[in-house]
Amino acid sequence: MGALGKPIILMVAMYVFIKFVLPNIPGSAPLPSSLIALYLLLTGSGIVIFQTLSKESKDAFWGPMQRFLTGENLGGLQALRYGVLILFPLLVGWQTYGSTAVSDLPPIESRTIHPAPPGEYTGLSNPVAKTPDNIMQGKGFYAAYCSPCHGGNFDGKGPAARGFVPAPANFADPTTIAMLQESYLFWRIKKGGVGLPIEGTPWKSAMPRWEVELPDEWIWKIIMGEYDGAHQSPRTWE
C-alpha cells in the first residue's frame, strides 16, 4: 500500500468519473475508448511524475526542467515558459477534438482480389488444343468482347475502362493471370463479377458474366489468347 494505494484509488476514481458520470452530463455522450485511454494516461503520468519528483527532484535531468517549469531565476525565458504552459493544454485539447470529430471519409471496403473459386472450378484443364489457330481465334474473341475494358494491349486500359471501380484487371501485370490457373480464369470469365463471393464485393464489379453469351469452348480459346497476348503463362502447380 502506501506509495501505490493513493494513485490506484485516484485512477479508479478518474475512470469511474469518465466512464459513468461524464456521459450523464447533459449534452455529452459516452466517450470513445481511445479518449478514455488518453485521459487516463494523462492522469496516470501526472501521478507517477509527482511521485518520482518528490523524491528525485535533484535529478540532473529534472533540475533544469524544474527551474524552467517553476520559473525561478528564468529571466528572459519567462515568456517562453508561459508559452509552453499555455500551448501544452491547447495541444492536448486540439488533439482530443481531432480524435472525436466524426470521420468525413467514406467507409473503407476491403476487397479480396482472388477469392477461392467454387469447388467445381478447381483443377480443370483447358480442353482446347494449343494450336496457333486456336490461339488466333481466342485473340479475335478477346478483341471483340474483352478489349473494350481490358484493353487491346491487355493492360486494363480499354476505352470503356475509365468509369469502372474496381478497374478492369491488367493482364500484363504479374499479379493477375500469371498467378492464376486456367481453371480459375474459366470460373471468373464464365460467372463474372456477380459470381464472386462476398469478400470479392461482387456488387461493384463490371466484369460480365460471359456464360450468358459465350460457349465454353470460346472461353477456353479466349484464355489461351489472353495468356499469349499478355506474354504470361498460367500457374500450373497445385
Binding site: 471519409l105 473494350p148 475509365r162
Partner: protein, 275 residues
C-alpha cells in the same frame, strides 16, 4: 519500490513526447487525406428543389465521377458522349436535392439522366441490382429524368427487365441547358413512407449512389444512338447528407485541456514545494 517507479516515470515521459509527436503528425495526415463522394451540404431552408441554376449550389462542394460506355451487358455501346459528371447536393434536414452537371454539345428531346441508389441493408449490383450468385442482393431505386417531359420518375429495379415506375412518385426533377452543359436537379424528401422501394437518407450515413446519362442524339438514319442499356454509366460511389453539427467534440477538448492544465498546475506546485 523507488527504482520501479522511477523507470515507469521515465517510460511515461518518453511516451508523452511520442504521443505529442503523433498528435501533431496525425493531425496533418488527416488533413491531407481526400476521397471522392457526394456530400449533401446542410443548409437552412430553401433547398433549390427545382432550380438547377440557384445561387445556393455554389455552397455545395462539387465531386467529379468518370463514366464508361455500357459494355457490361447486351445491347452494349462502345462510345458515349458523356465522359464525366459533376455532382453536388444540398439538404435542409427535410428535403434534399442533387445537381448533376455534364457536357453535351447538343440539346435533344431524348437527352436523359438518372441517379441510382441502393435500398435497404442488402448490397445491390450497380447494374440495376442484377442477381449475384453467392450474395443475396437488394433492390435499387432509380430516379430518371428526360428532357422531353422534364420531370422525375421514381423507379425500382432488381435485375434486368424489372425496371418500372413506382406506384408512389416521390421524386422531382428539372433540367436546364446552356452553353453545351446540362444541369439537372433531382429532389425528394430525405425519407419516404416506403423504405422497401425508396432509398432512405439518414444524415451522417454513407449510401451507395451511381449515375447514368443518355445523349439523345440521332445517327444518320434518324435512330437514337443512346437509349435504354446504351448509355454512359458509373460505378457505385458514396453519397452522404451532412449531419447537423455536433459540438460534443469541443466539450471533450475542453476537458482534456483542463486536465492538462491541472496537471501542469499540480506539477509546478509540487516542484516548488520540493525545493
Amino acid at each position: 519500490m523507488k527504482p520501479a517507479i522511477q523507470i515507469i516515470g521515465q517510460i511515461l515521459r518518453g511516451g508523452i513526447s511520442v504521443i505529442v509527436a503523433i498528435m501533431v503528425g496525425g493531425a496533418t495526415i488527416s488533413f491531407a487525406q481526400e476521397s471522392v463522394s457526394v456530400r449533401a451540404t446542410l443548409m437552412t431552408g430553401g433547398v433549390p428543389v427545382d432550380d438547377p441554376s440557384a445561387a445556393a449550389w455554389s455552397s455545395a462542394p462539387p465531386a467529379t465521377f468518370p463514366m464508361s460506355p455500357q459494355v457490361h451487358w447486351q445491347n452494349r455501346i462502345q462510345e458515349v458522349t458523356v465522359k464525366d459528371v459533376i455532382v453536388r447536393a444540398l439538404h435542409d434536414g427535410n428535403q434534399m436535392a442533387v445537381l448533376i452537371e455534364y457536357a453535351d454539345p447538343t440539346q435533344d428531346p431524348d437527352d436523359a439522366a438518372a441517379l441510382e441508389f441502393m435500398v435497404g441493408d442488402k448490397k445491390a449490383h450497380f447494374a440495376h441490382g442484377q442477381p449475384m450468385l453467392q450474395v443475396e442482393g437488394g433492390p435499387v431505386n432509380i430516379w430518371f429524368w428526360k428532357n422531353k417531359t422534364d420531370k422525375g420518375v421514381d423507379m425500382s429495379a432488381k435485375g434486368f427487365g424489372t425496371l418500372k415506375p413506382q406506384e408512389h412518385q416521390d421524386v422531382k426533377a428539372k433540367g436546364a441547358y446552356s452553353n453545351g452543359t446540362w444541369k439537372v436537379v433531382f429532389s425528394r424528401n430525405l425519407s419516404t413512407g416506403h423504405p422497401e422501394e425508396d432509398v432512405q437518407i439518414t444524415p451522417g450515413q454513407f449510401i451507395s449512389i451511381a449515375f447514368a446519362v443518355w445523349d439523345g442524339r440521332k445517327d444518320g438514319a434518324g435512330e437514337l444512338v443512346e437509349k435504354g442499356s446504351q448509355k454512359a454509366v458509373s460505378s457505385w460511389w458514396y453519397f452522404r447528407a451532412d449531419a447537423p453539427p455536433d459540438y460534443s467534440g469541443y466539450m471533450y477538448a475542453a476537458i482534456a485541456a483542463a486536465l492538462a492544465l491541472g496537471f501542469q498546475f499540480v506539477l509546478i506546485r509540487k516542484l516548488k514545494k520540493g525545493q
